[in-house]
């Protein structure tokens, strides 16, 4: 099973399977994400022993058990904090956080926003099924207003979080969204996240076959999905619909759906997606597009460069050593003022 560090390119997805029986419900969207990850990791040029997967609690957080890397299935909501400590201690590792909508946004909400703002070089994959699965069917912070669940028999009165909007507002440098069953799209987004330097956040719309089945059908059913999703590409106009007949136009900050060719509207009139210019806020407006009035944007919302937390931490250590030299324990123990007591 062992691999020489110099030979990571020979890895295959098999090398990332633990051989343990996977215990998600048959048909769960988590299988697809696991599979895409196992397909992606051998292609990154990183030795298997240099990956670590850290998760919290929930269905998705079981994933590390099925990934033949170093891993920790930790406690509810805390994976970003644990992963931050690991990455700061071990900048040489590729550290991934696997979390869910309850784990990241309810009990772990505080860690989530801070890991986004700090730009720790972690890959954070949020499996969003808009329901608590492991505790059997209570509403989550992303369940829709009015959602009927075990704890909201008359409909939820909570206004849901938009995880992408939250991550963008918290200052994340890479923010993307994909869907579990669109393997090609998911694989592509995960790859871009893996290559990003800094906190990379990927929200994966994931179907809970048992407690919230069909939540994302409008986005996954080939018959209707083109009308309901907007595939974002940096530098390309925001066009969607079967036959690419519709587009998004912004009148100031106010979006509207336009039909190409109608009233003289051309593709050139549609907004061009810009994920790479920092500080425009445009990606935040895109993240606000929600059904029923708008299609759901999928793809990379933001991908910008910024110093990583680990890099800055190293800089501090370097500065300290430049100013004071490598610390000497003897000097430290003696401190500034000492006195001698003789025999």
């Amino acid at each position: 099973m062992s691999h020489a560090p110099g030979a990571p390119q020979q890895l295959t997805r098999k090398d990332f399977e633990t051989g343990l029986e996977v215990r998600w419900c048959p048909g769960c969207g988590d299988y697809a994400v696991l599979s895409q990850l196992q397909k992606l990791l051998p292609t990154l040029g990183i030795a298997r022993e240099n990956f670590a997967f850290i998760s919290g609690i929930g269905c998705s957080s079981r994933l590390p058990y099925y990934m033949a890397t170093y891993g920790m299935h930790s406690i509810h909501g805390r994976a970003p904090a644990i992963a931050t400590g690991l990455k700061l201690a071990r900048p040489d590792l590729s550290v991934w956080v696997v979390t869910g909508d309850g784990d990241a946004l309810a009990i772990g909400g505080n860690h989530f926003i801070h890991v986004m703002r700090r730009n720790v070089d972690l890959k954070v994959i949020l499996f969003n099924n808009r329901i608590y699965g492991l505790t059997k069917g209570q509403y989550s912070p992303t369940s829709g207003f009015g959602a009927v669940t075990k704890t909201t028999p008359l409909g939820s009165i909570d206004r849901p979080f938009n995880p992408v909007g939250l991550a963008l507002a918290a200052g994340a440098t890479f923010v993307a969204r994909s869907v579990d069953v669109d393997l090609e799209h998911l694989g592509g987004v995960l790859r871009q996240a893996a290559l990003h330097k800094g906190t990379a956040f990927v929200e994966v719309y994931q179907n809970c076959v048992t407690f919230n089945d069909g939540e994302y059908r409008p986005l996954t059913d080939p018959k209707v999905r083109d009308e309901n999703r907007l595939l974002l590409e940096h530098g390309k106009p925001m066009v969607f619909g079967k036959g690419r007949t519709k587009g998004i136009r912004f009148n100031g900050a106010v979006p509207e759906v336009v039909t190409l060719g109608e009233g003289g509207v051309a593709e050139a009139d549609c907004a061009v997606h810009d994920a790479r210019t920092p500080g425009t806020g445009a990606e935040y407006l895109v993240a606000q597009l929600e059904p029923p009035a708008f299609p759901v944007p999928l793809g990379v919302f933001r991908s910008v460069e910024a110093p990583t937390y680990g890099g800055l931490t190293d800089d501090l250590a370097r500065t300290a050593r430049e100013r004071m030299g490598r610390g000497s324990l003897d000097q430290l123990l003696r401190g500034r003022t000492t006195w001698a007591i003789g025999e």
Partner: protein, 622 residues
């Protein structure tokens, strides 16, 4: 009276005055929390320490940062006892009180020994300040001070005079008056000024005008004592007999910080502190944040939970994981400590205890988190617990906590408290090569590797991620006792719970034999833990001097208890446990040894006085 600025000596012997040889002196500085009393006290301690005296200090300050000036709740104090003998505590009743305003006098006068010296800054005794302190009449003139030797000195005005041409604002000038008070006390105790002046120049190197003002105020205070006829005597305390060596002063939080850096240097492991600011633990985070030229990373986390979790993550990566906190933060970290128990990674958690529950008394001392440390987790979740007895002992305890954590692959809780954390004492500085080695090895051999296979300490192997062939998963779910794979097998859970308990219990085997202060058997054994060491040691020494059959045992290891504890307890007719709680160690001792234990408990946010403990000893066997 000549203007002080013209008559200040550089630092010379005083004019002919009676020099009184003292065995020990207790001094308390008290003033507004903005008056710089902690600084004056610290500096005074350093000065007497350099002269070879033994000492102990007790800062006491309100939880308000700068309460409205002149109010009772804004009073901050600093007490020091220094002596030509071994010093165990900062002393019970002050022999000297320096009161910078009416509120400070009001709160502290009753503690002063009758006949003691009370130096009062008369400049602050305005009608407004008297009213704020709740004085109906001026205590300087109404006979309130008749039991004391009162020395009225207009410190505010004298400081203002000497600095009138300094170009500083009134506010800045007023801030220098603590240096006047310090100068006066240094004169009264026959200490030279040179060290202090050098220290001021270092401390205020970025503000030369302030440095010059503080030096001038210091000299003025010194000169005032020397030139006025106010003080008939000056004091001299001989050096204490101390083990030869190089000494420094340090607080408990500094000592702990140094201990953790030493552990990192000795083991070759980088130190990672994940912490969230909280009184009275923050100084450890401050200290380590300034030591990044060692292999030290500090991470100020978004909350207490992230503090401990980041340390667990670092430990998983092969670093020394450390988190520091106080009671409320400890409560928040509890679940994560349970994770560390389950995944069996080394981790040190420092709880600098304060008065509780909830926000409680954040700046005051209490020892009420012992049961929380030993038992405060869900499930069968054993964690070793040790406690430091004095500021300097925090250094040794930090090293021991790390040693235990890496040897047994377990989280370890180190208990300190507010009085140890902020109190200072002299410390004999060890040379780095005098410290015991702290070898740590990671498993690198993939052959036959099982994540939960155990060594002779029942510890599993520590594996650094990045080691090929040893990829494995840990987690909070119960795992197979060998492979670490998920297991809900009943017999396996029973085995794992028992193994984790046996691993921690096994630490007792390596605890050195207990040392009792005093005869090894007798009428009464006083058993303490943590910061009660000082007053218990002093009280037991005093009781022994009276001929009472009493000894003192101070426990560092609170979970597991040392293997010989039962035997030691059994050699005494009775056992007394003084604690700053309602009886937590006494409960543990009763439960473990089925022993009747007499208690002495206090939860006032203040340490025991020696007299309180001595009184209880006399009550029991006097």
């Amino acid at each position: 009276m000549a203007a002080p600025s013209e008559t200040v000596p550089d630092s010379t012997s005083p004019r002919a005055r009676r020099v009184e040889e003292l065995d020990r002196v207790v001094i308390r500085f008290a003033g507004d929390s903005g008056d710089g009393m902690q600084l004056a006290g610290d500096e005074f301690s350093r000065s007497v320490a350099v002269a070879g005296a033994d000492f102990a200090t007790r800062p006491e300050y309100p939880s308000e940062i700068r309460a409205p000036a002149g109010t009772l709740f804004g009073v901050s104090g600093f007490q020091i006892q220094y002596s030509s003998h071994e010093v165990f505590t900062a002393g019970d009743a002050p022999d000297v009180l320096v009161a910078m305003n009416p509120a400070a006098l009001k709160l502290n006068l009753a503690d002063v020994r009758h006949g003691g010296m009370v130096i009062v800054n008369t400049g602050a005794f305005t009608e407004a300040n008297l009213a704020k302190a709740g004085y109906a009449a001026n205590p300087l003139t109404d006979g309130s001070l008749s039991h004391y030797q009162a020395y009225p000195v207009n410190i505010s005005e004298l400081t203002a005079q000497v600095l009138k041409n300094s170009g500083l604002s009134k506010k800045e000038i007023a801030r220098s008056k603590n240096y006047f008070a310090l100068g006066l006390m240094l004169w009264l105790h026959q200490r030279p000024l040179e060290d202090e002046i050098a220290d001021i120049e270092r401390k205020f190197s970025r503000a030369p005008a302030i440095a010059a003002a503080n030096v001038a105020a210091l000299r003025a205070g010194y000169g005032f004592g020397d030139t006025t006829e106010l003080f008939p005597v000056v004091y001299h305390v001989k050096p204490a007999p101390m083990r030869p060596g190089t000494y420094r002063t340090l607080t408990g939080n500094q000592a702990a910080s140094l201990g953790f850096v030493a552990a990192s240097e000795l083991s070759g492991l980088p130190l990672f502190l994940g912490s969230y600011p909280i009184t009275p633990a923050s100084d450890i985070l401050h200290t380590l944040a300034a030591l990044k030229h060692f292999a030290v990373t500090t991470f100020q986390a978004e909350d207490e939970i992230a503090g401990v979790c980041s340390a667990i993550g670092a430990a998983f990566g092969g670093a020394l994981g450390l988190t520091t906190t106080s009671g409320p933060g400890m409560a928040l970290k509890t679940e994560a400590i349970g994770l560390a128990v389950m995944i069996e990674l080394p981790l040190v958690i420092v709880n600098v205890q304060r008065g509780g529950p909830s926000t409680g008394l954040p700046t005051r001392v209490e020892q009420a988190d012992l049961l929380q440390a030993v038992y405060g987790r869900h499930g069968e979740s054993p964690v070793p617990v040790i406690a430091a007895r004095s500021p300097a002992d925090c250094f040794d305890c930090a090293l021991e906590a790390v040693r235990m954590a890496v040897t047994y692959m377990t989280p370890v809780i180190l208990l300190s408290d507010g009085s140890i954390a902020n109190g200072a004492e002299p410390w004999r500085v060890p040379a780095a090569d005098e410290l015991a080695p702290l070898p740590v090895s990671f498993r690198t051999d993939a052959e036959g590797f099982q994540p939960y296979a155990r060594d002779e300490h029942l510890a599993r192997a520590w594996v650094r991620p990045g080691t090929p062939g040893l990829e494995h998963r840990v987690g909070g779910l119960e795992k197979d006792s060998l492979t670490g794979n998920l297991s809900s097998d009943p017999a396996n859970h029973q085995r794992m719970v028992t193994l984790r308990a046996a691993k921690v219990a096994g630490i007792a085997r390596e605890v050195p034999p207990l040392v009792v202060q005093g005869p090894p058997s007798g009428d009464l054994l006083v058993v303490g833990w943590g910061s009660t060491y000082g007053p218990i040691a002093q009280a037991v020494e005093d009781a022994q001097a009276q001929g009472l059959s009493v000894s003192h045992l101070h426990l560092r290891h609170l979970n597991p208890f040392p293997a010989d504890l039962g035997e030691v307890l059994a050699r005494f007719r009775s056992v007394l446990v003084p604690e700053l709680n309602l009886g937590q160690l006494s409960r543990l001792l009763r439960e473990r040894y089925l022993l009747d234990v007499a208690q002495l408990n206090k939860v006032e946010g203040r340490p025991f006085t020696t007299a309180e403990i001595l009184g209880r000893i006399e009550e029991l066997i006097g």
